[in-house]
Symmetry: C2
């Protein structure tokens, strides 16, 4: 049988109450006694039964996800994943709620963070916008010992507990490395397309891209950054103009979230010279474009992984348990047309189950 608190008490020659005080770091235990209990714990190899502990606490974990509103595919997907997590939450005594704030609006985000703080949640996940005020607001949460996880977009310089997202510099570097090799020495300029350079993720991606391009593929120059504001119409117009102005363009790196406009612009020039296109985020649109060979590669962050990771980390932090770092690292997925995952909504999905007996 697995050892229990009673076994510790017996082994250390103290009462249950003392063991409880040590285990839950409550006051009222002498140093020597505490040491004796800890040695006993060590010796008999006790591990706390989390299920029983939570049952006894009859604790529920109210977690809040603060998400940007707006209609780009990635954020909608993220929201869907949060919703899916909401449905599963009760199984582990969690309650997940969401708060929507206007995208890229630091002031609104600060207000939301403070409002959420007033409800004393067990943890907060937030898609960060960079600003000193937001950092301060996050730190106010942390000052009240409320765990905070940044989601998708990190908040450097804050006291957030964890970042559930990808390394965007590495993503940009990877894009450059792929594009450089796909072009195979074919010289020419490269067009870079952002949503907005005011967002940290996008800046980091460009930094990584530029670094590897300069270092490993000096034959290519980067044209001035196009900022499409994640707006399909605007993006299509700007990309069309840029391609017309620089017909010798050999590559496009799109690291924003609005790929619909890019794809539309690419379709316009079916008969022009081939251009190597690398984009971010696997959506209905980029998936189709991969299959039509309009896009060569898509770098993706799996929103589902990010949300589930955020939930796990928040729960672990709330429990004071340890986080398995390797499990919580979000990898950059690289998709070519050849390794696209089967679509959730696809009827022709490959069966994953074995036959029934």
């Amino acid at each position: 049988m697995r050892p229990t608190v009673h076994d510790i008490a017996a082994a250390a020659g103290v009462s249950l109450a003392t063991v409880d005080r040590v285990l839950n770091q409550r006051a009222g235990v002498r140093k020597v006694t505490r040491d004796r209990v800890e040695q006993a714990i060590e010796k008999i190899g006790y591990v706390r039964d989390m299920a029983a502990a939570n049952l006894a606490k009859s604790r529920i974990y109210p977690f809040v996800f603060i998400l940007p509103s707006g209609d780009n595919s990635f954020m909608r997907g993220l929201e869907a994943e949060v919703h899916a997590a909401m449905l599963r939450a009760p199984l582990e005594r969690m309650v997940i709620s969401t708060v929507k704030v206007p995208a890229f609006n630091a002031e609104a985000l600060v207000a939301a963070l403070d409002e959420v703080r007033a409800t004393a949640p067990a943890g907060v996940a937030v898609v960060a916008v960079e600003s000193p005020e937001v950092i301060a607001a996050v730190n106010r949460l942390r000052a009240e010992r409320i765990p905070v996880v940044t989601l998708v977009s990190d908040l450097a310089g804050s006291a957030r507990d964890h970042f559930a997202g990808v390394d965007n510099v590495a993503a940009g570097r990877t894009a450059a490395s792929l594009m450089g090799r796909f072009l195979g020495g074919r010289p020419g300029p490269i067009t870079v397309l952002a949503g907005s350079m005011r967002v940290r993720d996008h800046r980091e991606r460009l930094d990584g891209f530029r670094a590897v391009m300069d270092e490993d593929f000096p034959g290519h120059t980067l044209l001035p950054v196009i900022e499409g504001q994640d707006d399909p119409v605007l993006t299509e117009k700007l990309v069309g103009e840029a391609l017309a102005a620089s017909p010798e363009t050999v590559g496009i790196y799109s690291f924003g979230a609005g790929n619909r406009g890019l794809i539309a612009a690419l379709k316009q020039r079916k008969n022009a010279a081939p251009v190597c296109v690398i984009a971010h985020e696997l959506t209905r649109h980029t998936r189709a474009a991969l299959n039509e060979r309009l896009i060569d590669a898509v770098l993706n962050q799996d929103a589902g992984h990010e949300v589930r990771s955020a939930v796990r980390v928040l729960k672990a932090k709330a429990d004071g348990a340890e986080v398995i770092c390797a499990q919580e690292r979000i990898y950059i997925d690289i998709f070519l047309k050849d390794n696209l995952p089967f679509d959730e909504g696809d009827e022709n999905q490959k069966p994953q189950q074995g036959k029934e007996l």
Copy 2:
């Protein structure tokens, strides 16, 4: 407050005992009463508290992982991940043990499966070897309602509950697609290096690779498969001979587990014409080779993800709970030198934590 069994009893106008009989599908309840209880459950939205249920059952989950012995880096890594999972297991009332069997030996695997079955575990994870006898042995486990998950290598045609591993055909296709584009039209033959063609994973990878090569890059021919038996010395010798015999080779696809020999052979020919090399499994050796630009890309299956996924699925199956499919899909990671994750053992690891308040 979340509804409990008491609330069901009150809502259905029956006693706790009857609710219990319905919930745990015990005999002794009339059809009409059963229906009334089930309607009440539906209506008040009851979900069983698994933690409390398991506590009451004082159930522990003995899971067994059957792994091949042998010393290749990937399997050693897998074993390390299983060991890590063993240490975390008690937190969730699980006990994980391992059984080692000689690699690629169907007879020994069948014996191990039957031996494990005699211990009546709560679930079994197994790195499968393809054979009718193994399928039968797995089905014997399933016939006793013991959940079975195949790990890394699947067992088609068996009644296994789940496969925790990557789509190896897609992996081969991806490798071909990357290599074709990296070569950028430069013609020439391609050398393919397997561990053994008797293993399903390897065959599938080659099938995928060949399919995309034939379809999209007909300029390349595949040289006869080299089988290095995952032996470094043998592999180095065979690769050296192959490169000498076909000096016009432009690419090497290594889809076995023994890359040390390949890398040694590549180092021998430092001044020869460049060859595009794509290998499988990120290990100390392939990581170093990526950084030295001896290897261009590494396709990887994350052993940690696979093991943790297997454990989660086994627990869910043992509990009769649902499996989150999207969470359990293991992606193929593509690593270039630009997106290598920070090494676990690396001292210069990038700090992941925010500053403390």
